[in-house]
Amino acid sequence: MTSKIEKEDLSRRNFIFGSIAAAGLTVAPGVMLYQTANARDLSKAASSKVRWGMLIDTSRDVDWNKCVEACVKEHGLGNEEHSRPDQRTQYIRVVEVKNKSTGYSMSLPVMCQHCEQPPCVDVCPTGASMKREDGIVLVDRHRCIGCRYCMMACPYKARSFVHETLTDQSTTTPRGKGCVESCNMCVNRVDNGQLPACVEASEGAIVFGNLNDPESDISKLLAKHGGKQIRADLKLNPGVQYQGI
């Protein structure tokens, strides 16, 4: 059953991304030609040979708010008119962590951790909350019924619920009232061979790459310095890892 759902998802995704690719080819051939070097072949399903991940170096003196701003801009967030602050969508946030006994403090960006075994995917009754073959966890907004069980299940509070009708949305990030959403690792950019928006804004403090490729920068860094996961005790094996926490 699961594989059937996945197949349906894949065909739908292929259609959507295929359409986007076709439109892109029509209006901006120059841009497309420039990016095809790293872009994924959208006629094929995402491959499990790739596992996209991020390594975030919290020891770097970076203004993490720039990552938040880039995310907001990329996905057209912050356009709620009625929602209270605690109802507004945040894909990525800066968390301040302080050790009470030693006084040591640090700040780090937290977003969807793109778990290998995501609880949000397990609990979703309709399969709207899904993990792509390449490890990106995201919500199919055509299938989400807005039950919010994934928000109950996520150990990272990574998800938001759209509390009102939204207008003026980003064309690459459709968002709808009554659905749950979260960081999708800028799947539209990644499929296009670009870096996620927060990575681009991080001044090199966030390294993005293929965790399954031992020759990728991220794998080499992890091999050399190691990486830490938030709530590693839950054994969800997130694709987002940290240095310096």
């Binding site: 059953m1 699961t2 759902i5 709620e80 009625h82 929602s83 209270r84 605690d86 109802q87 507004r88 969508t89 945040q90 946030r93 800066v94 968390v95 301040e96 962590v97 302080k98 050790n99 009470k100 937290v110 609880p119 995917v121 397990d122 609990v123 979703c124 009754p125 309709t126 399969g127 709207a128 299938r143 989400c144 019924i145 807005g146 039950c147 919010r148 069980y149 928000m151 109950m152 299940a153 996520c154 150990p155 990272y156 509070k157 998800r159 938001s160 619920f161 759209v162 509390h163 009102e164 009708t165 009232k177 009554g178 659905c179 749950v180 938030i230 709530r231 839950l234 926490i245």
Partner: protein, 400 residues
């Protein structure tokens, strides 16, 4: 024991239409509240990205839990062959279906996209407990309907025991499933325990029977049908046992939490520093919802109908408080991402989330109760659910 005789409630009466009007209006207001929430979006509610399940869920889960508990009376009669409960078995089954329907209506109308019900009914992820519950709930309605049929259609009476057994096992699985909605949530300190599954089963016994007793006593009072002490005393003694059993689970839950350092926080929060949740726990759940009913049921007032009714109502109020603490208190307590550290962020990490129920949420929840009572009112008038008399000479198997 005299012969048992079932009879519909007179439908063409002023009292019947009054009840129909009142419960219909409550249901209608609930539906309007849901429309208001869906039209504007959930920003008009007290819910947020921190407390994602609010008051509607408290009512919905109460009704669903009570549904399986309401079936107990029938189970005791069919599965455990206690003839004293047989006259009540039909009402028990019908009330179970009505409670479940009321709960499901609330759960459905609180979805972000209730218009996508068809998606929920056609696309399944079988790893999800919600998916299991979709089958458990619809299956429960079906199996209880069959069970009622075998009870009410004489040629099929011989199948009642089998159908009753099926329904009994199904209801245990169902409430285990409802408890597991929370029990399987590893992320949150308040949940993450298998204890919630059996605790929900025993909660269902208490809430379902309390609701059943109120419906039973009210129906017989309004229709001027005799209801003897024999049956009421048996039921109220059983109710007291269930309330005590819930208390036992609550104590074990908190003692277990307090004993392990990584779960201490949430129990300390509920028991001592949780503000409204601490108040609800000690005053409403424990004081008014558990200890006072036990006193009323087993003390000198134990034979007084009004006091038994009051105890049942208090158990329901205590049950709603208990679910409020579990569902909303469990979310309000900050999720621990960095154990032992102080955390803060623009997304309310590390702080107790604020939540106050909005009027539409409350109206939707109460609307679900209205739907249940509307169904009960129509059912008792349409079909022979209630015995014409439950006077002691009819109800007591040992009466001469």
């Amino acid at each position: 024991m005299k012969k048992l005789h079932f009879l519909e409630v007179e439908g063409n009466s002023r009292g019947f239409y009054t009840l129909l009007g009142v419960f219909g209006l409550i249901s209608l207001i609930g539906m309007f509240a849901a429309y208001y929430m869906e039209h504007h979006g959930h920003y008009v509610t007290g819910m947020s990205n921190q407390v994602v399940w609010g008051t509607p869920h408290v009512f919905a889960i109460f009704l669903i839990v009570a549904a399986s508990g309401a079936l107990n009376v029938a189970s005791i009669s069919s599965v455990f062959a206690k003839t004293a409960y047989k006259p009540l078995a039909r009402l028990s089954g019908m009330l179970a279906i009505a409670l479940l329907a009321g709960g499901l209506v609330v759960l459905l109308l609180d979805l972000g996209r209730p218009d996508r019900l068809i998606v929920a009914m056609t696309k399944f992820n079988f790893l999800s407990i919600f998916t299991w519950n979709i089958f458990l709930y619809t299956g429960f309605m079906g199996i209880v309907a069959v069970y009622l049929w075998t009870m009410m259609d004489r040629p099929y009476n011989k199948l009642t025991k089998k159908a009753g057994m099926g329904a009994f096992i199904w209801r245990l699985v169902l409430t285990t499933g409802t408890g597991s909605i929370f029990g399987f949530l590893i992320a949150r300190e308040a949940y993450d325990t298998a204890l919630l599954a059996p605790m929900f089963v025993i909660m269902s016994f208490a809430f379902g029977l309390a609701f059943f007793m109120l419906v039973l006593m009210a129906s017989y009072k309004y229709t001027d049908r005799p209801l003897g002490d024999y049956i009421i005393n048996r039921l109220k003694n059983l109710l007291g046992v269930f309330v005590a059993a819930v208390l036992y689970f609550v104590i074990v839950y908190h003692i277990t939490n307090l004993y392990s350092a990584d779960h201490q926080g949430v129990s300390a929060f509920i028991l001592a520093d949780g503000g409204i949740y601490t108040f609800l726990f000690w005053v409403v759940q424990i004081g008014l919802g558990s200890l006072l009913p036990l006193l009323l049921l087993y003390g000198p007032t134990g034979k007084n109908r009004t006091m038994i009714g009051l105890a049942s109502a208090l158990i329901i109020i205590g049950g709603l408080a208990q679910l409020y603490i579990i569902i909303i208190g469990g979310q309000a307590y900050p999720m621990v991402m960095f154990p032992g550290m102080e955390v803060s962020s623009s997304f309310y990490d590390g702080v107790v989330a604020s939540y106050s129920p909005s009027l539409p949420e409350v109206l939707l929840g109460v609307g679900g109760v209205g739907v249940t009572l509307l169904l009960v009112t129509v059912s008792v008038a349409a079909l022979k659910f209630l015995p014409a008399s439950l006077a002691d000479e009819v109800a007591d198997p040992h009466a001469k």
